[in-house]
């Protein structure tokens, strides 16, 4: 089948031409009737009606057909000699010229009107899309949201596949598979070039991929590189159409970047980037400090434990005591380092609880186990009622908070005094109370103990510590949606520290039937 554009265009015109012919036919019949019955002298001017109709509705071809048919019909039927195309009257020629002129002029006017209408409609769609785009930007949560919004906006406006790369690294790291389609290698390398600022082609670069598809690669905005680089799949297009599309991309991007700039998105993106870089730096620092300080500590502690068990030293009471001192001090140092690391984590909003369903008794037992050495000369009583609800928390964080609280209870109480751990449920909350018979709290102390670097002034000279412990405990409990508080009957009368954790009864998943099979 012949699919050439000319053939196509004619075929599109056919219905219009047929209707025009029918119109001319009907009009001729009416005129014929009027001329013979009423005695109308001249009817040819009436043929302007189908010409104008055809010109406005179906364009110039149909209009010309109407004009020619109209002239021939009036020549045949109405001008003498009747029923012959021969014409004596020059009026006929003027008619023809008039008809053709009207046909061309009207169809041109109609065409222009139609195009303007089309443009107005397109403009309206663009504005609506742009509005939707800025609304989406307004609710964007992070940089990737903004990028996704730009990507979707362009894809919907251009009706083409659009891929946005945030940075040169993203393009070079990606294997080219994005959003369910593959970006060809050649396009990717151009994206890398543009994103790293090597190529700065105004209006973007055209890349023909291995498959023959044409891609347009250009920066979203030539001014701020934060917005990323676009790759648009234009498919197989002719040269003129390509230029048209490029102009359209320019227009759409100009609107989009204006919106982005108005909303200060560039600033927001670069700030977010900087923040994530700071985060990385801090994590690296914490990691290396942790490693650098811990590794020698591990050797010291390990060596001390080997020495304390060595047969050669067993008889030497004084030396054994020294070895134990080395071990205990190293242990204390290790705890201090851990506290500092925890504090760093907290102050940088870095606690991310790994919640799971946990058994409250397990957490308490494991905290007591971790403090076994420190608690060994206290009379520890644990009161855990059976059938406690499971709690949805990060058990490690709760355990570490409890360790800090135990540590504190030991620090401010006499050797041999009791420490009581009691668990109870109340109003859908689980309470863990740790009660000691130690130094207690004055009213001012009670208000301050949860502050960072808070040290009790009464004890600052006699006890060691950084003042971080309880602050860490409260941050860890807080990260699990819990609360921690301390009450005391007064100085010297002991302290009760209460941890309150939520028990979401209705959220507790039930065992599926058959789980006990």
């Amino acid at each position: 089948m012949d699919n050439s554009p000319v053939y196509d265009r004619i075929r599109k015109q056919l219905p219009g031409i047929f209707i025009t012919l029918a119109l001319v036919g009907v009009l001729t019949a009416i005129l014929f009737f009027l001329v013979w019955e009423v005695g109308l002298a001249h009817g040819s001017i009436v043929y302007l009606i189908p010409v104008v109709i055809a010109a406005t509705r179906w364009g110039i071809v149909a209009a010309l057909v109407a004009a020619v048919c109209g002239v021939f019909a009036s020549a045949y039927f109405f001008y003498p000699p009747a029923y012959s195309f021969r014409v004596k009257d020059p009026q006929e020629v003027i008619d023809l010229i008039l008809f053709v002129f009207v046909a061309v002029a009207v169809s041109q006017l109609a065409n222009r009107l139609k195009r303007q209408l089309e443009m107005a409609r397109q403009r309206e769609i663009d504005v609506r899309d742009l509005y939707a785009f800025s609304r989406r930007l307004a609710v964007a949560f992070d940089v990737s949201d903004i990028h996704a919004a730009i990507e979707d906006h362009l894809a919907s406006i251009m009706q083409r596949n659009v891929v946005l790369f945030a940075s040169a690294r993203e393009a070079s790291d990606s294997s080219g598979r994005r959003a369910g389609m593959t970006v060809p290698q050649r396009v990717l390398s151009e994206v890398v070039e543009v994103a790293s600022g090597h190529h700065d082609v105004v209006g973007g670069a055209i890349v023909t991929a291995e498959s023959g598809e044409i891609w347009l690669v250009r920066a979203v905005s030539p001014k701020s590189r934060e917005f990323g680089v676009l790759a648009i799949n234009l498919g197989h297009e002719s040269k003129e159409r390509l230029n048209e599309l490029r102009i359209r991309v320019d227009a759409v991007l100009a609107d989009a970047t204006a919106t982005l700039e108005r909303l200060g998105v560039a600033h927001a993106i670069s700030e977010a980037r900087m923040r994530s870089q700071t985060d990385q730096l801090r994590e690296a620092l914490i990691g290396s400090v942790s490693h650098e300080l811990r590794t020698p500590l591990a050797s010291i502690l390990g060596a001390a434990t080997v020495l304390s068990a060595a047969p050669a030293l067993r008889q030497e009471k004084k030396l054994t005591a020294l070895v134990h001192d080395v071990r205990d001090e190293a242990e204390r140092l290790n705890n201090d380092i851990q506290n500092l690391l925890d504090a760093t984590r907290i102050s940088s909003d870095g606690i991310k609880p790994h919640v799971e369903w946990a058994e409250p008794a397990d957490i308490i037992n494991s905290a007591v186990e971790r403090c076994r050495h420190r608690l060994s000369d206290r009379r520890v009583a644990i009161d855990v009622p059976p059938d406690l609800p499971l709690i949805h928390v990060d058990p490690i964080l709760i355990q570490q908070a409890l360790v800090q609280i135990f540590d504190n209870a030991v620090k401010y109480s006499e050797s041999g005094s009791p420490i009581k751990v009691a668990v109870r449920t109340q109003d859908g909350r689980l309470n863990i109370d740790v009660t000691d018979k130690g130094a207690g709290l004055t009213t001012t102390e009670a208000a301050k103990i949860w502050d960072r670097f808070a040290r009790g002034e009464r004890h600052a000279a006699t006890t060691s510590g950084s003042g971080l412990g309880l602050w860490i405990a409260s941050a860890f409990i807080g990260a699990n949606d819990g609360k921690v508080g301390a009450t005391s009957d007064g100085p010297g009368l002991g302290t009760t520290v209460s941890i309150e954790l939520p028990v979401s009864q209705d959220a507790l998943p039930q065992l599926e039937s058959g789980a006990d099979e």
Partner: protein, 250 residues
């Protein structure tokens, strides 16, 4: 021990750590091989007969987890990794990769030795095909599918027995939540930790003399559960507890 000295491979890039581990192990009748890099560790494990490997996670040439995976790909030798605190996800990953157990740095020699003995005993049982596992007053006969507490037979539901069976197969070693859930309830319940909590609670009521302070089926917070083998925990005290009185409290 009447058997020949067990051979342990110590993989750590810190010479000081290797030195105290060598001394500690040799004082307790072990033969020690050392490796300072992952490549050296894999070579030694391939060329020389070893009974156990201690692998530090921070090695200069490769990730400790890769060393575990490479050794595990052809050998069933017990592997204990040296990990750091607050890295529960990493511990779980290592246990899934093939490590038998972990010890958190810094650690005491007694703690490590206890873990090593448990791992060696398990390996020996696996080789000899010994079907019974003893944990305190509890005896699990894997062949007869019988569980005895103080020589009295217990009635367990099929799921309770399956849970205990998986733990007994790894007696002494920690078994991750994910592994237990997969083995007992199937892969689709891998994240239903509450199943485990509820069943462990029921199981403890039946097997623990004091279910509130379990001594047989113990929790490794954030990681999994461990069936504590009889005899093992006697010397498994942490490095700090043998010294309860030495420190004078203020």
């Amino acid at each position: 021990m009447s058997e020949p000295s067990p051979i342990v491979l110590v993989v750590d890039d810190e010479i000081q750590i290797r030195r105290f581990l060598r001394t500690g192990f040799e004082l307790n009748g072990f033969v020690v091989h050392e490796a300072g890099t992952g490549a050296e560790a894999i070579r030694t494990a391939t060329l020389r007969p070893i009974d156990l490997a201690i692998v530090d996670l921070g090695l200069p040439d490769m990730d400790g987890a890769d060393v575990v995976e490479r050794i595990r790909s052809w050998s069933s030798v017990p592997i204990i990794v040296l990990s750091v605190r607050s890295a529960e996800a990493q511990k779980v990953h290592l246990l899934e990769t093939g490590a038998d157990d972990y010890v958190v740095k810094p650690f005491g020699m007694a703690e490590l030795l206890a873990r090593v003995r448990v791992a060696l005993r398990r390996q020996m049982r696996a080789v000899s095909g010994e079907p019974t596992v003893k944990a305190g007053p509890l005896t699990i006969d894997l062949a007869a599918r019988a569980v005895l507490l103080n020589d009295k037979r217990l009635t367990l539901t099929p799921k309770e027995y399956r849970l205990l069976q998986v733990l007994a197969q790894h007696a002494g070693n920690v078994v991750t939540h994910q592994h237990l859930l997969k083995e007992v309830w199937g892969s689709i319940h891998v994240h239903d930790t509450h199943y485990l909590r509820i069943f462990v609670r029921k199981l403890r009521q039946k097997i623990e003399p004091h279910p509130d302070t379990p001594k047989i089926l113990v929790t490794e917070l954030g990681v999994g559960y461990r069936l504590v083998q009889s005899g093992a925990e006697g010397d498994a005290g942490t490095w700090s507890d043998s010294n309860a009185q030495a420190k004078t409290e203020s």
